[in-house]
Structure formats: C-alpha cells, structure tokens
Symmetry: C2
Subunit: 220 residues, 2 copies
DNA sequence: ACCTGAACACCGTTCAAGT
DNA sequence: ACCTGAACACCGTTCAAGT
C-alpha cells in the first residue's frame, strides 16, 4: 500500500508508516528499504528525517506509548486506587492488542521513552495518593514489571503445547504437564483462544499482584 | 578465541561455541560467520550440523534450559511447597545471571524447548503436591510468567532514570517519578547495582506472587 | 561423510551528487 | 532543504564442488 509520493516526508510520516507496516506485516518486515517503499521514496531519503534504524524503533515505541497515554487519560479515576490502576492497565493492554509487535520491541529498549516515563509518573501518583509510600511504589513497579504497562510476554503458553501436540514418546517425561493440560482442556472445551484465555490469565496475574500490594500497603 | 580446527565439528560443539560467543560478546555478535570463525571453520560448514540460524538459537535455549535443570535438581525439596518453588526459581535465576542474553532470547522462542517443558513439569508437580488443583497451577504459571523460569525483564529501570539523568526541563513533567527517585536515592545511597538491587526486587515480586497464590490455595 | 568457494538476495549506512 | 544512485561492509543461505 504505497502512499502518495507527492506528500513530503517527515519524521512523523515515517514513524506512522513504520507502525502501520509493523501492524500489517510484523517487525521483521520493518526494514529501511521496505519502509521507504511504503512511503514512495528511496531508503536513503529516510535518513534525512531519522538518524538511523534504532531511531525509528525508539520512535514507534513512543508513538505507541502516546497512544496508551491518550487511552488511559479517558479512564475516570475512582477513590479506590486498585480499581483505577487496574482499569488503566487493562486499557493500556487494549493498545498492545492493536500492536502485537510492540511488547517484544518495548522490552528491547534500554532507555525509556518520555511517553513511557509519563505513563509511569501517573501510575506512581495514583498509588501514592492511594496510600503507598514512595518506597513501596518502587517495589510495586518492579513486581508488576511489564504488566504495569499492560502486557505480559508469555514464555511458554501451556495451551499452545496442548496434549495433542505433545508426541507420545515425550508425554511420559511430562506427566504433570500432561495431566494439567488434559484437565484444563476437559473443563474448558470451547475456549476461543485455544486453551488459555489471554485476557482471563492477564487479569488473574494482575489481581494476584495488586491484591498482594494492597495488603502490604495496609500493613505498612 | 579460535579453537582447535582439528577437532571435528558437531552440533554440540557448535552450540557450545554459540553460548560462549553470546556470553562474551552478546547476542548481536552471534552470526553464522563469526560462529564459524570461532570454531576455526567456514560459515557454510555449520549447515552440515544445524539446519539454520533459528536452529542454533533454539539449540542454545535448550543448552541453558538443561543447565537450569541441572542446577535445580540439586535443590533439596522441603515439605513447604512455597519454600521449594522459591528456592528452585532463585537457583534458575543464577543461571540467567551467567547468560545475560538468555532472557531476551527465551522470550522470542514461540515453541518451548523440551528442557523448558521438563522444568515446568517439575514445577507443576511440586505445586500439585503442595495442594494446588491443576486449574490453579495453570493460572499460577501465567501469573508468574517468566519469573517461574527465573528472570523478569525490566521494561523500565526506575534506577536507571535516576534524577541526575533526567533533564531539568523534563523533571517538571514527571513530579511523582522524580519525587520517588529522589527519596529512594536518599534512603539507599550506596547500593552496588545502582538504585535498584535486582536481586531484592526480583525476590520482592516473586514473594508477592507466591504469597498470593498460597492464599488462593488455602481458600480453595 | 564432512567441509568449502563462489554466488545470491538481502540488510543498514555513508557519501557525493543531484534538484 | 530535501531527495537519490552508487557503493561498502555486512548478513543468512543455496548449491555445486572438493576431499
């Protein structure tokens, strides 16, 4: 989907096109040459608007982070810190569902973008107002990890390794896993997303942590 | 550090060299050409022992996973499930500290290696014996995420963005973050690893989750 | 059976040159 | 000021050829 070549390039146009390219064809398709093609320009033209590819990657992280900030800004605060924080995080998660490549990329960035810092700043403020000490907020951010931003990279999807996919010769080595999977498959035979409902699992993990943090806050 | 060229290549030698190369120079240095050079061979020779680069990456994930399995096998079980699981996870973490590139790579693998599955199988068994239903174990694995395997990718290290590094013009946009960081820096002026002690934070987050899971187990 | 040289299709990036 | 062509140093990988 090559766009009109008459519109002049700009950093913003480049970044928008990069996000769209990643949305449609994944991060691997995001090469400088392909990106330029998408914009109806030559690869070398991009370098007038961005320093290098890393700059593009930093840029699209920022674009997504701004999208998150816009989304969570519409969440109306509640007197209950946990309710507000929970809703903000689930709202942020919706943005990541629109940009499936983003979690992996966010984790490769070493220095946080300004937009990400603003996101965290608001979170810190909400928890502080909810009765947390700065010290506990700090621990809380580490405990939440990427969940605070709205995603949780699944290392191993128990559902993806459903019993059917495990070769019989392997099964005997994994009695507990096989047992667990067969029971789950039995109990929830028609889950839409395979055996594990990502949304349910994300909320489960999030609530375990938020509840735990709330208990620590009360005790302190 | 080129090794003796007279020793014939083998899949195992290739993978060992790949791990060592990543340990010493990072994942980015792990190219087929460089790897071959390290082994005193030509890049094309590698393809007789591995299918493609992805195969090498799958392979070194497996090597690390086996290293983890060896390490946790030496953890002696306790009647308290939480104690045992906690110690196993912290033991696994030690392995990741020796292979800093591994967390990022583990997260890019879509299908889990057999060794990783064995690790999870043992974990499932321990929790099941500790009184968990299969269903709760399943939720627990999702809640722990990569922490179950012994690492937690930090998206944004609050310590890395210490107040000193935040430009003054940005600080006013981040009042809560700046407040939090200045207090933490003040309270813990001489932490070795910067402002955040990774080990402490990892254990904090792990304990929040394990305690939460234990409470859910009791209630069920 | 195991290893290699030459070659291909791709990268990101520089630099001098065009308008 | 903005864009481009040619070129460079790298990738992973194929394939026919060597021993």
């Amino acid at each position: 989907m090559t766009t009109d070549a008459r519109i002049p390039l700009s950093r913003e146009r480049v970044l928008r096109a990069a996000v769209q390219l990643a949305d449609e064809h994944g991060l691997r398709a995001l090469t400088m040459r392909r990106l330029a093609e998408e914009l109806g320009a030559e690869a070398m033209s991009l370098y007038y608007h961005v320093a290098k590819k890393e700059d593009v990657l930093d840029g699209i992280v920022d674009v997504v982070a701004e999208e998150i900030n816009d989304a969570v800004a519409r969440v109306e605060p509640s007197p209950d810190w946990k309710r507000t924080v929970r809703e903000r995080i689930l709202t942020a998660r919706q943005v990541f569902l629109r940009h499936r490549w983003a979690p992996a990329l966010f984790e490769t960035r070493s220095s946080a973008s300004i937009a990400v810092l603003r996101y965290y700043d608001a979170l810190v403020g909400l928890m502080r107002d909810g009765g947390f000490s700065y010290d506990l907020v700090h621990h809380a951010l580490h405990a939440l990890g990427s969940r605070a931003l709205g995603f949780s990279q699944e290392l191993f999807d128990p559902g993806a390794s459903a019993s059917a996919e495990v070769p019989a010769e392997l099964a005997w080595q994994l009695p507990n896993l096989v047992g667990m999977l067969s029971e789950i498959a039995h109990e929830d035979p028609d889950s839409t997303l395979g055996f594990c409902d990502d949304q349910t699992e994300f909320e489960f993990g999030l609530d375990v942590i938020l509840d735990g943090l709330d208990r620590l806050r009360e005790r302190a």
